[in-house]
């Protein structure tokens, strides 16, 4: 590691330092979640009602990636002030109502909120947070899948080498890990309920994978 730093000096930045943008249209334009083409709603209606695994896509939510340092008070305090709860520590998550946040890395958290609220929250956070902070809206690039049921844990064990046992992975814990041949942010949200945050371009692969992995237990798709 180099300790010394050589940097070019350039004139103090004019405002705004960051490009804020409401990326959602008003009423009208149709939104398509990453699994839109799978038409889960229809499958839910005609699919089986008995099965060991339940799957649901929680589509079109607001996804914000927060980057900042815990040494940055405005970042830590600002978050609590805007969200009403604290940033969780390593591998923990926190939530209030429809809003939840996941620890991703020592300087990274993933906030998931109702789709329409993402921009407002981003703005509020920007207002209260100063110093070295980044907020990236990734709502279009991810989706949330909820796996539930008595065999859901077996599907996870087939898909990832992480230890999902109660003793290691209690409700509220979150890990980013390898999932089949891609990755997912996995959070336990109930005794038999897990939430997967996956990337848009891999969503179809994961959908195929899950159908396959669930086959022996019976997959119930929830609309």
């Amino acid at each position: 590691m180099s300790d010394l730093m050589t940097k070019t000096e350039f004139k103090a930045p004019p405002q705004p330092a960051y490009a804020l943008m409401n990326q959602l249209p008003g009423q009208g334009p149709r939104a398509e979640s990453p699994l839109y083409h799978a038409d889960l709603a229809t499958l839910a209606n005609k699919g089986p009602v008995e099965g060991g695994v339940h799957l649901q896509e929680q589509s079109l939510l607001g996804h914000l990636v927060l980057r900042g340092s815990l040494q940055n008070k405005s970042f830590v305090k600002g978050f609590a002030q805007v969200m009403g709860f604290k940033l969780p520590g390593a591998l923990q998550s926190a939530e209030a109502g429809e809003v939840s946040v996941r620890w991703i890395a020592p300087d990274e958290w993933m906030l998931i909120v109702p789709g329409a609220e993402a921009f407002g929250i981003e703005k509020k956070l920007r207002q209260v947070m100063t110093g070295h902070v980044s907020i990236a809206d990734v709502s279009g690039g991810q989706t949330v899948l909820v796996l539930a049921g008595k065999d859901a844990i077996n599907v996870l064990k087939k898909s990832s080498a992480y230890d999902f046992h109660d003793s290691n992975f209690p409700v509220g814990k979150v890990v980013t890990t390898t999932f089949a041949k891609t990755q997912a942010v996995i959070r336990r949200i109930g005794p038999q309920k897990w939430e997967l945050v996956v990337r848009r371009s891999f969503a179809d692969y994961i959908w195929l994978w899950l159908q396959d992995a669930c086959a022996e237990y019976g997959l119930i798709v929830r609309g």
Partner: protein, 97 residues
Amino acid sequence: MFSIYCPYCEEHREEDEFHAKGQAHIARPLDPESYSDKEWGEYLYFRDNPRGLHHELWVHATGCRKFFNISRDTLSYEIKETYKVGEQPHFTVNQDK
């Protein structure tokens, strides 16, 4: 398949979450222009490659995306320690011959 303790996630994870990135503690020269071709070539390519204790740079690729160091025996594959970038290893061998 190794079981690797990520010093940032603070727990053991499976090797398939990580990528090995070569020898650790190779600082980029601060003044590359003052380096001769030979010196630059040595920075670029020449490595310790020891049979025994080795300090390696790894990245938690599908986890927290953080780089960190591992002290590992390249013969027994035992991992002696993992430590953050910027920290120094506790396990070292005296390097003469």
